[in-house]
């Protein structure tokens, strides 16, 4: 599969700042035994710009975390290149890996599992500061600064606390602070709020948004919740079966989805303005065919669930097709799925 179309495509996030981290043609295969191979990620292009948020949206198993792990240098891509500030990324030696980590940091999903229960908040933050910022930095002062940055105030009170003394939201703030301790340019946040309560999620996203603006971070926001991506991200990439099936500005993708999978995703999201009607009549949302079955191995990964699938879809995997200067979707049936968008570019 080629992505020639994507080359002229501009990211909707490009307006915010200079390019920081870029992945081109990123792929990852896992060997399964019996000679079978799982194509977890296939030919993914991602550009992260400073002060911009790119959301990677997909269901569990779509490959979004694998993409993040490769970007973080924790997994080696089977094919493709990752470039940081234009330089190819090399993390083969531990010294190079550490240097890379000081630029690109990862925030984990589970604030209950990602902090060590036997270490204090202060210890969690002092370690990366010492590791990444040399000997002449005032560690204590820097830890307090970090705590204030994530609004854990009074900072001096939080520093000696242990994870079990903190609420879920406070723990996630500590994870954010830990990621910021290296003073990175790029932050990869893997479902940073999905383990938190609804009432706290918004506060966390606002905090991330604020940090992104103040520290000019390039932020990759990985989520299964496309509604939060609408509010939070500049560009949305929708992943299905290891591929990006649609990309474009967050508002456009969520309000006028082109790919049948994005359309299904958006139609399935709970809609508070649609009181009772959808579930009770049971007819306004097309029930997904073969829901729960995995992506198709041959052809378009969505072909076994797609209401528009034709023989071509089951045989050949479509490449991303450019729709506007900033939008693209990978589908053979775009003229049927999103006629307004396709005719607009004709």
């Amino acid at each position: 599969m080629t992505q020639d179309a994507a080359i002229t495509l501009t990211s909707a996030a490009a307006g915010n700042g200079p390019l920081a981290l870029e992945a081109v043609g990123l792929s990852k295969d896992f060997r399964l035994g019996h000679g079978a191979t799982l194509h977890a990620v296939r030919d993914v292009h991602i550009s992260l710009y400073k002060s911009a948020v790119v959301a990677l949206v997909g269901e569990s198993g779509s490959g979004k975390s694998t993409v993040a792990r490769m970007l973080a240098g924790q997994d080696t891509p089977t094919a493709g290149a990752i470039r940081l500030d234009g330089e190819p990324v090399d993390v083969r030696t531990s010294r190079a890996f550490r240097r890379y980590k000081s630029q690109v940091q990862y925030v984990f999903q589970d604030p209950f599992g990602s902090l060590n229960p036997v270490h204090s908040v202060g210890y969690h933050l002092a370690r990366p500061v010492k590791l990444h910022q040399g000997r002449d930095v005032d560690v204590k002062k820097r830890v307090i600064e970090l705590l204030e940055q994530v609004r854990l105030t009074p900072a001096a009170q939080f520093e000696p606390k242990y994870p079990h003394e903190l609420s879920g939201g406070q723990r996630q703030r500590v994870s954010f602070a830990r990621a910021l301790a290296a003073e990175p340019n790029v932050l990869l946040a893997d479902e940073p709020v999905s383990m938190l309560d609804v009432s706290i999620r918004l506060e966390m996203l606002n905090l991330l948004d604020d940090l992104r603006k103040r520290l000019h971070l390039a932020l990759l926001y990985i989520t299964h919740d496309i509604a939060s991506a609408r509010y939070f991200a500049d560009e949305v990439l929708v992943m299905y079966g290891g591929q990006i099936v649609e990309r474009g500005p967050a508002e456009e993708v969520t309000q006028q989805p082109a790919h049948p999978y994005t359309q299904l995703l958006i139609a399935s999201a709970p809609d508070p303005d649609n009181l009772g009607s959808v579930l009770k009549s049971g007819n306004s949302v097309p029930r997904a065919r073969g829901a729960g079955s995995g992506p198709a191995a041959v052809g378009c990964p969505f072909s076994n669930r797609c209401p528009l699938a034709i023989d071509k879809c089951r045989a050949e995997n479509p490449a991303l097709r450019q729709l506007t200067a900033v939008r693209a979707a990978a589908c053979w049936r775009l003229s049927e799925a999103a006629p307004a968008l396709v005719n607009g570019t004709a």
Partner: protein, 351 residues
Amino acid sequence: MSPVLDIKDLSIAYQTPGGDVRAASHVNLTINKGEVVGLCGESGSGKSTLAYGACRLLRPPAVITSGSVLYSGARTGTAVPVDILRLPHDDLRAIRWRDVAIVFQSAMNALNPVLRVRDQILDGMEAHLRLRKDEAHEKAARLLDLVGIPRERLRSYPHELSGGMRQRVMIAMALAADPEVVIMDEPTTALDVVVQRDILAQIVELKDTLGFSVLFITHDMSLLLELCDRIAVMYAGRIVELGSAADLQNAAAHPYTQGLLRSFPSLHGARRELTGIPGSPPDLRDPPQGCPFIPRCGFAQPGCAQVDMSLIPVRGGRSPLHVTACPFVTHEGAVNAAPEQETTAPEGALS
């Protein structure tokens, strides 16, 4: 509408060395026949405790300190409802699962990994229903048909099923004895939205054919608005608002409910302003005087500390059944007295 399950003045506490954690305080909630009632609240608000307490499924250190749970199903045989909390053990066993079934939280992990799906379903049937072996097998297969899983999957182990299928198996098991009330505790939280919608549609379909009532517990308010006839909002162990889905959507009265409604981003329609709810819930070992929401409420006023948290009809509301614990709000959500501008920002609040 006749009540099937009537929870009255139920209080539950967890006894800890640091004092009693009052997880549910004086809760009243009625579930009518064929109704879907939503129970909404953040973690620690006591929603699961309430549901498990109502079925007497809690173990020490949890103790039920007051209240009754009246069950009046078709099969109880007597005209008078029975109080689940005071039933002898054998009678309780007869009601559980046969009449009141539960789909547990994280159903993904509630299945035994070393038993085939068939054996787990048969296990429950053996304990509660008297069926011949071939009948039981046939019934297990029909249950899977009901939830849209191919019969061959009876031979599968849980790890061979996707998350959505495991969830369906759990629902099938809950429906095995044709219950009157099904309590679902966050049944779809771990699933992605496409599968979630599929399962919810199926639950509603099954409810319409089999005629059971549902108590649906989740923290996802937008889901409840679409799914439920009535919704109860719980905060710090108390129901703070109860009304029809339309009441809550159009005229949410309690400031907490209003906050919840402004907490989740919407996909459809214009972008709304999102404010969230700053701060965190109170320590239930030592809840504040009066309304537990005071420290996080934008409209807190001196009278709030005297509020007794009993549910009263919303002033000017369209329905007498739309009730709230906040006496200062009207149906337009506006607070009667002038809101205090300077609320103390709780720790970690956004400026």
